[in-house]
Structure formats: C-alpha cells, structure tokens
C-alpha cells in the first residue's frame, strides 16, 4: 500500500510517501511504523492527535487495509 505523510509528520519523518506491504488494518500498519522507534514511535503514539485517511476518506483506527489502498497519516487539519 502507498503510505503518505503530510505537514508536520512529513517534515518530522523526512518522508512524504513510502510503499509498505502486509498490514491488514490501520492498527497493524501503525504497529509496524511504531516498531521503527525514534520519531515514528513518538509521533504515532496512541496519545498523539494524528489522523488517518484510507483511500482519501477519514478512517477509524480499526479499518481494514489491502495492499492496493492509499493510506495517509497527518496532524489535525488547520485550513480556512
């Protein structure tokens, strides 16, 4: 699956986009990313206020994932 990062997360991870295979849910994807430690473990801690979108729609943490999905992880939005 394609995983996109935006705004502060993109800057902190030094990464806008990556390909990841395997996770069957948002929860599993987040576990995999946290297991990298460092800024990934810190920023994606469950207590932090990040948001997840799957295929460009806001998604709950237990949403199922397929390898063909586009997942995005980003801070709460601040437009307008």
């Amino acid at each position: 699956m394609k995983v996109l990062y935006f705004a502060r997360l993109r800057e902190t991870f030094g990464l806008a986009e990556e390909e990841i295979s395997g996770p069957a849910s948002v929860t599993e994807l987040l576990e995999l990313l946290r297991s990298r430690g460092g800024v990934f473990a810190k920023e994606l801690d469950a207590a932090r206020p990040f948001r997840v979108a799957v295929n460009q729609e806001m998604a709950a943490m237990d949403s199922a994932l397929q390898d063909s999905d586009e997942v995005a992880i980003f801070p709460p939005v601040t437009g307008g």
């Binding site: 705004a7 502060r8 979108a53 460009q56 729609e57 995005a72 939005v77 601040t78 437009g79 307008g80």
Partner: protein, 148 residues
C-alpha cells in the same frame, strides 16, 4: 457546486456574479472570506505556507458542500481555498451560498466553514518572528463543528 483548490487569488465580485447568475429566484447571498492575519496567539506572522492533500482535499470539500445542500435549501454554492505561500491580508478561502431565503444561506455558509476547518485536509505553517511553526488545531473549531 463549484469547488476549487488553487494558488492564485480569487475575485469576490466575479464569484458573486457567478453565484447569483442573474437568477431572480435568488433572494439571499451569504459570503465568507478568510484572510491571513499578521499575528496569531500573540506572535507576529510574516507569512504562511498552506499544504493540502491533492485529491482528498477536493473530495472532502465536495462532501461537505453536498451535506450542506442536503440540510438546507440552497441554489448554488462555491468554495475556493488557496494553497501555497500567502502573506498577511491575503485572502485564503471563499465560501459563497445563494438561496431563496436568508436563513438557509447563513446556516449553509457557516456550516461549510466549521466543517472545512475540522475536516478538510489543509495545514498551515506560519513564518513568525520566532521562526517557522505548524499551526495547531483549535478546540474552539471542534466545538463549532459539533454544534451542527
């Protein structure tokens, strides 16, 4: 509905003419324009960079407008949101709603702004006298969106 995400400035008079469209069924027009302020939380702001999620941003705005169209009797709605580098006093966002009666246009316009602020994937990074900083989401925006 007319949804645009763009860097260039918009012309409010043109947008109003397009919304009213010489349609004499229109009784009310409500517009909102949001501008870059020169200070935020007590710190001077020299400029800002607006980032978005191409594709999802447009879909999200269209879904918000579709919900407004379901909830109120509106005739036409436009939303324009700028991205990229902007400076104090620059317009950021335009929301315009025309309807037969004013209550529908007021409610739809404010609803769209409250939802846009909490749902649409835009992020502001300010250049301040203390350096750059990502703007934090405000609890008051969440409260405003929960009213509807």
């Amino acid at each position: 509905m007319d949804i645009r995400v763009q860097h260039p400035a918009f012309d409010v008079a043109d947008e109003i003419a397009r919304l009213h469209a010489a349609d004499s069924g229109v009784g009310a027009l409500v517009t909102f324009v949001g501008y870059v302020r020169d200070a935020h939380a007590g710190v001077g702001v020299q400029g800002m960079e607006l980032e978005h999620y191409p594709g999802m941003t447009e879909k999200s705005l269209a879904a918000i407008v579709a919900e407004a169209e379901q909830r109120w009797h509106t005739l036409r709605i436009s939303v324009i949101h700028r991205v990229g580098k902007l400076f104090p006093a620059d317009p950021i966002v335009f929301v315009g709603v025309v309807s037969a009666h004013r209550a529908d246009a007021f409610a739809a316009c404010e609803f769209i702004m409250d939802y846009l602020k909490t749902q649409a994937p835009f992020w502001k990074k300010e250049t301040t006298s203390n350096g750059e900083r990502w703007v934090e989401a405000r609890a008051s925006d969440d409260e405003a969106a929960r009213r509807w």
